[in-house]
Symmetry: C2
Subunit: 471 residues, 2 copies
């Protein structure tokens, strides 16, 4: 116990001093990876502090990735390399199984629509029509903003002509949209806000820009507005990245009231909203209506990013963004420096596909197919996993986000490994947090790639594994 002894400074919160001291011990390998930290009562007595102080110190260590709590068994130290390896291990395993196209696996990690729903024949027809119509023109560079025909179709069919076509830019998928906007608007040490948890692809882009990232807890109907206000009062936030419908991973959707509040805050505190609208086509709950931040935005505060890949044909890499007038030129330059322009043939084909009415029909079919899977998932989770997880039903989209009950002594990575052994793939929660350890008790189940039979089978396997860890 002696190494835990320290002179407490009156000026600084005690739990912070204790936590920092143990961090140091772990970094200097005086406490080794996997070593059990002293029991809470024992350490409290030894240091002559309240047990609550030790609980807080251990909690902070967990949040910072220096410790792992195992229910019923205590808190364990995590070494530096182990922390680093945490994600790497997962990513290597996932790469390996997905490289084998996940054949033979029940795949709950899917994020895009399933190939059985791809409208291959119709798209082929449309491609040929475009080539017959446009010839060599179809292979010339478009302007950096993209093919004008498609930009007009987007305005006509998805926005009732309510936005300025000049502000629409075609991008090679939503991920590129986020990357381009980040390069145009976010510089080293700029402050940006994100939802906690959030989409890891966006998180990585912001980290790559070396921005200061503020996480705001996601509640059932959008972020914790009170917490956001506190941050806004103290820090000049430039940009807030937001998923308005079926947030990835939580599945939460913003209430109309929160949308309006956030739009007002954007004006009051002079920040811009980067809205990633990625699955709003799949609303299954009859009481939900579709209103993007962009459609409510009267102050040109929203940069709207839309993926066509996730919902349509992932392999064609298409999406679009709507830029505030103010940033149009900067975002255009950023696109040019990123990849000059998006594939012209694909843009022309998608344009014709929308104009001919195929898009509308396809979305109707997708909605029916996925609503069936959604309801199955919902029912089975309620029946089979009841008592083992906490979950909010999203009401649409392609996934559920589950919190492992406190009674079950397993973290999401161990759950991932065990599931993988039984040929079931889940997505661990750690991917979705700036500090990976915050997601240790969460996992995501997507049903886009999982057919009706596999859903029941897969959930039964997960149930069995979770049960084996019940304390």
């Amino acid at each position: 116990m002696e190494k835990y002894l320290l002179n407490l400074d009156e000026e600084m919160p005690k739990y912070l001093q204790i936590s920092k001291h143990i961090e140091k011990l772990i970094n200097e390998k005086k406490v080794k990876d996997g070593e059990r930290l002293p029991a809470i009562r024992t350490l409290a007595k030894f240091l002559d502090v309240n047990t609550v102080t030790i609980v807080s110190a251990y909690k902070l260590l967990q949040q910072k990735g220096y410790a792992l709590q195992k229910m019923g068994s205590g808190t364990y130290a995590k070494g530096k390399e182990e922390r680093k390896n945490f994600l790497k291990q997962y990513s290597n395993i996932y790469k390996k199984v997905s490289g084998e196209s996940l054949k033979g696996y029940i795949d709950f990690s899917g994020e895009t629509t399933c190939s059985e729903f791809f409208p291959v024949e119709t798209f082929k027809k449309v491609l040929n029509d475009v080539l017959d119509r446009d010839g060599a023109e179809a292979f010339v560079y478009q302007s950096a903003f993209g093919y004008e025909g498609l930009r007009k179709s987007i305005n006509n069919h998805f926005w009732d002509k309510r936005i300025d076509t000049d502000n629409i830019m075609i991008v090679s998928g939503a991920q590129q949209g986020i990357d381009i906007v980040a390069k145009a608007l976010i510089n080293v040490n700029d402050n940006i806000a994100i939802e906690k948890p959030t989409y890891s692809g966006a998180l990585n882009v912001f980290k790559g820009r070396r921005a200061n990232i503020f996480e705001i807890d996601m509640l059932r109907d959008g972020i914790d507005i009170g917490a956001f206000k506190k941050i806004l009062k103290k820090n000049k936030i430039n940009c807030f990245y937001i998923m308005s419908y079926f947030q990835n991973p939580t599945g939460s959707t913003y209430s109309m009231q929160k949308k309006r509040e956030i739009l007002n805050l954007a004006e009051e505190y002079d920040f811009y909203i980067l809205e990633d609208d990625y699955l709003s086509e799949l609303i299954f709950d009859k009481d939900m209506e579709y209103k993007s931040f962009k459609s409510l935005d009267t102050n040109d505060r929203v940069i709207y990013v839309k993926s066509f890949s996730k919902i349509f044909l992932p392999g064609i890499r298409l999406g679009y963004l709507v830029s505030p007038y103010k940033f149009k030129d900067r975002i255009q330059s950023s696109k040019i420096n990123t990849d000059i322009t998006t594939s012209s043939l694909m843009q022309r084909a998608l344009d014709l596909y929308i104009k001919e009415g195929y898009w509308k029909d396809h979305m109707k079919n997708l909605n029916e197919a996925y609503k069936e899977r959604y309801n199955l998932m919902k029912n089975y989770i309620e029946e089979i996993l009841k008592d083992k997880v906490e979950v909010n039903m999203p009401g649409g989209g392609l996934h559920f986000y589950l919190k492992i009950s406190d009674k079950i002594n397993v973290d999401c990575l161990e759950l991932f490994y065990k599931c993988k052994k039984e040929k079931v793939i889940i997505t661990p929660g750690v991917l979705f947090y700036k500090n990976n350890f915050d997601g240790e008790k969460y996992f995501r189940l997507g049903f886009s790639q999982t057919n009706v039979n596999d859903i029941e089978k897969g959930l039964n396997i997960i149930n069995r594994i979770l049960r084996s860890f019940t304390s």
Copy 2:
């Protein structure tokens, strides 16, 4: 003259002090935009220094964009906003004319093959074959490295299987290759070296990474190795961006000796070479052989980037890169964060196009067609523009880089404006330098979009305009 008076400090080079003083006068608007600076002899006498000192000071001011020399008429100050507007004006005009597809213009600004050479029918056939063969598979996400079939074809057909297919990554054009590599390997304040002048698209990417950029003068057979060595001795360079054949804009090609010297320097000073091999298919000079840096690289020091867009179908946005084994994972993560993966259908179509032997045939045809244009350009430049420009004949590629003779009192932007009025589009040299003003006396003439008749007509117009400025 009084405002030019200053107390010279013995410790600091005089030309530097004079130049800095005049900079300050211009920034404070005590010397106004467009105002003529004192004649060299007058100022030398007034400050009691050698005329060479004033010449050096004025030269530095020019390089930094604070002054413009008009031959035979003296040196003129340039205000801050005027310096900023310099490029903006050009880019707005160019956007405008190219938005109208340059119809009615003789376009010497082209960088990609002309649509009349696009193999539309063959590519359409190949697309349909792929869709019949692969169905929905053709629209599924590829791995971030790209479609394995295409990666193997690239190794088989372009590298005689001499590289490791695992190190090949498909990208959405060479611009994306540069962007991805930069995001993976270049951080804020890293030192990188570039050729002077260089491709503006790459320059913008490096500026966007906030790197320290060192320019090294391009000579006829590659960079000035002596100058490069001096930089290497004083600075830790991480990366050197290089165009091995028909460098853009100079048209220079590296000699075998310089390639080997640079590869040795890379090993000695521990830097990596980013080789952009963008037009090496178009070698017209019989004495030139093709040997990329990558093919000579025995120490895994070269990141090789290849565009298919420039030479084949610009609108399909395809290229590839070959990564050193060491950086494979980082570059893959960078690709995922940039746009996840490149269009799968296009990758499969290009693969089949190569496998069926169409690529080889197409390159043969392109070579013949462009060799004719190249020779025409070469002859006309020698005949028509003789005495008005200096030029090195590149021996291949799709452009010439011309230096306006000192006797002709015009900069490239004025030349651009005048040409544009007469429906001829050239590319001003200012685009290709970190400090735009270094390129004031240069312009680039590309012949990829210009047919045989237009070449003669266009060069005659340029000749007439240059003549009107002869002093």
